[in-house]
């Protein structure tokens, strides 16, 4: 029996369940809110593997670690989730691998935040280190805005919001690219277009097919490898010169926008990848 860890059953999870059923793969959807593990005896049910679709970064890492400690293979692994769920760790992995990525400066206190922002220069983009869907992204156009942002983040009284992850604003052509990597293959890619500087489907961006050029494939595979590999959505942007940059790598990817325009059945390919990993 395969465990599919879930938080909410969204369109992606429904598509995954359908793909599992179509392939005749026995599975149990395990709601992360029901998860209790005795560390001495391990999880109550002995699954043959774990497919992790938990939406919370914190819960996802711990759940993966709990199953891994019991000797089960979790897809994606806790190490990959930890790296991909934290923008600082992702950027460090990308930089370490020598991959093109927007210039990034990090400060770990509000006191140092202004210097980090002004090291990048205006306009700068400030992102939370953990989180997704384009939430709490700030485009900082000048020092006044920077001072206000730092004060507001300080007022949130959260250690996580006192870490400042600052990037150059890349003059992208109103779109970014999402490429789906499964193991050593890029199976599909889409453009995500928006009039807004945040080109995220959760913020209303629309998708259209993107050709898998050799450069895109190579860079996506290298980005996936840099964070530990697995089942990943690599997000990229293009400079006005055409240079491709990797912005992030997502470990529990959403693909509803991609599924609308892709010629392949992403959910089925994802399930196939999980089966391949577990049987390998």
């Amino acid at each position: 029996m395969l465990a599919v860890l879930t938080t909410r059953v969204r369109l992606e999870e429904r598509m995954i369940f359908t793909a599992l059923e179509r392939r005749g793969i026995p599975y149990e959807a395990v709601d992360d809110r029901s998860l209790v593990v005795d560390l001495q005896t391990g999880p109550e049910v002995r699954y043959r593997g774990v497919f992790n679709r938990i939406m919370s970064h914190t819960r996802s890492v711990y759940a993966a670690r709990l199953y891994e400690a019991a000797g089960l293979q979790v897809v994606n692994s806790s190490a990959v989730i930890e790296t991909c769920g934290d923008k600082v760790l992702t950027s460090l992995a990308l930089v370490r691998a020598g991959l093109p990525t927007p210039r990034t400066v990090v400060a770990v206190t509000p006191d140092a935040a202004l210097r980090a922002i002004e090291t990048i220069g205006y306009p700068a983009v400030v992102k939370p280190t953990v989180g997704s869907w384009g939430r709490l992204l700030s485009k900082v156009n000048d020092r006044d805005a920077a001072e206000t942002l730092v004060e507001h983040k300080q007022a949130m009284r959260s250690p996580a919001h006192s870490v400042f992850y600052v990037q150059e604003l890349v003059d992208k052509p109103g779109r970014d690219i999402r490429a789906i990597v499964l193991g050593d293959q890029v199976v599909a890619a889409v453009y995500r277009r928006s009039e807004h500087w945040i080109t995220n489907t959760a913020r209303g961006a629309t998708t259209s097919p993107c050709e898998l050029s050799p450069d895109l494939v190579k860079l996506s595979l290298r980005a996936a490898e840099a964070v530990g590999g697995g089942m990943l959505a690599v997000d990229l942007i293009e400079r006005s010169t055409g240079e491709l940059l990797v912005t992030e790598v997502n470990h529990t990817m959403e693909f509803h926008g991609l599924a609308e325009v892709a010629e392949v059945d992403v959910a089925d390919l994802v399930v196939g990848h999980v089966e391949e990993v577990l049987s390998g």
Partner: protein, 59 residues
């Protein structure tokens, strides 16, 4: 947790259609007040207000 029996929104009492393939933990949107609802039981269908998206939720 606020719940309601059958296919009624626990927030506004609007009747919520139950599409095929719904499972416990599925999320639907109330056609009346647009709040997100989570299926907490089937046969008969019961809805609760869906858990709020937390800060570290994402992909």
């Amino acid at each position: 947790m606020t719940t309601a029996t059958a296919s009624t929104c626990p927030d506004c009492t609007e009747t919520v259609p139950v599409p095929d393939g719904l499972r416990v933990t599925s999320i639907v949107v109330c056609p009346g007040c647009k709040v997100e609802l989570e299926v907490i039981a089937l046969d008969p269908t019961e809805f609760a207000l869906a858990p709020e998206i937390e800060e570290d939720f994402g992909e």
